[in-house]
Amino acid sequence: MGLFDKHLAYAQAYEAIRNAGADPFNVKFEQVLSPTEGIIDGRRTILLGSHNYLGLTFDKAVVEAAAGALTESGAGTTGSRIANGNFDGHRRLEAELARFYGRKHAMVFTTGYQANLGMLSTLVGRGDHLILDADSHASIYDASRLGMAEVIRFRHNDPEDLYKRLNRLKDVPGERLIVVEGIYSMLGDVAPLKEMVAVKREMGAYLLVDEAHSMGVLGEKGRGLAELVGVEEDVDFVVGTFSKSLAGIGGFCVSNLDGFEVLRVTCRPYMFTASLPPATVASTTAALHRMETDPGLRQRVMANAQRLYDGLNGMGFVTGPTCNPIVAIALPDQPVAIGVWNALMQAGVYMNLALPPATPDARPLLRASVSAAHSDEQIDAVLGMFKQVGETFGLIESDVKRAATA
């Protein structure tokens, strides 16, 4: 018996995947040329597998801000904010985020994962109830294990099921915190937030929305799903990340609730980790500014998503229910999914492969993340590759066949 024996089944499954071709969970970029292109295995490859929604990773203002802060304030903070101090940039970024969301309070975390871990484990405690969408991100599930609240799941995007669960708690004491995501990262579908807010109002609960994938993407100002559907007043907490639209790393929570600041001395994933380095704080602040002042970025990423989504659906691929910068393609089984992923990689496009149990409904998924920086030509090239690979694997009918059966 050894420590790793319990992982044997995973090790064997992983080995089988690796033997089928390249390793989808350990892709090596020899060089990243731009937000949309890199060199993998010596080949120029279109990058369609990073959440670089606004394409800001190489933005001049963003990179220069990081370089300036690096030179001025050094490589790292070498400590946590409670024990080792705040840098001016941390406070400034928090003020900017609070202003952007129109809320009184903002707290910055070192990763988006930690933002969820910290907020969900601290806002509710023993005797309280944490109410999660069944398809929540791993960071939300992990947070539910760190905290002491009772954890209840409701069916994905199902306000009636949410109502049912809150109703069962009717006479049970304790606070309730509902957690949903703006855009869900596996299928790119959105929460029916208006309906959920109605349930929240009727039953009495707090609502936290994780806008990790919807910040910079949805809403006129890019504040996410709550802005898009006009329910920001009813959302008590917004959690988000800097590692997608804002092209860096880190996470945050904003809120209007009085008493919020106590979290700085009670929230362990905030307290007991080193704070973000100056370069990241500066690049994130600059990216937030770019996002705010250039709404064209958001329009471009949505237009690109529409081009890919419509193209794939037109060919007969099975995609997610809503067109968003995450475009998921459902595949029949794991061997086909691995084969298709490898064939597309050979053809010159890098995407994500998501396998059960990480996916809903035990279906393997190919996942594209579209960027504002993709050109029409790149999207069309990807559609061409999908057509070829889809026909080879019998996922879609060829034009000849289609014409014959029409």
């Binding site: 539910s144 294990r145 609240a149 954890v151 069916r155 059960p356 149990p357 035990a362």
Partner: protein
């Protein structure tokens, strides 16, 4: 472990108390089997000692879906944190019985 649990129920049988108790447990177990079959799309054999994940070859996702089915049929919520201690169908039936009492 399994035989000891059966033994416990048997003691009740001789005392004349067991039939209703046993019936409740059996009913819950049968419902667990039904939920598993509906999620897995195959027939399964469920008894008190059945290790849900190992014996039914269920992954974490399918287990969650089975639990959701059960929540509907018993009209109660089974908190995730309470599930952490559950390994066998008998333990799950016990938890459901416990939660029913709370309501």
């Amino acid at each position: 472990m399994v035989s000891r649990q059966r033994g416990l129920l048997n003691t009740f049988t001789t005392s004349g108390l067991a039939s209703p108790l046993e019936a409740v447990t059996d009913l819950t177990l049968r419902e667990i089997g039904r939920a598993a079959e509906s999620v897995l799309g195959r027939s399964v054999e469920v008894s008190e000692g059945t290790d849900i994940m190992r014996d039914l070859e269920v992954d974490s996702l399918a287990l969650m879906n089975i639990v959701m089915e059960l929540e509907d049929s018993f009209d109660l919520s089974i908190p995730l944190d309470r599930l952490a201690d559950v390994q066998t169908a008998g333990q799950l039936a016990g938890l459901i019985k416990d939660l029913k009492k709370r309501n």
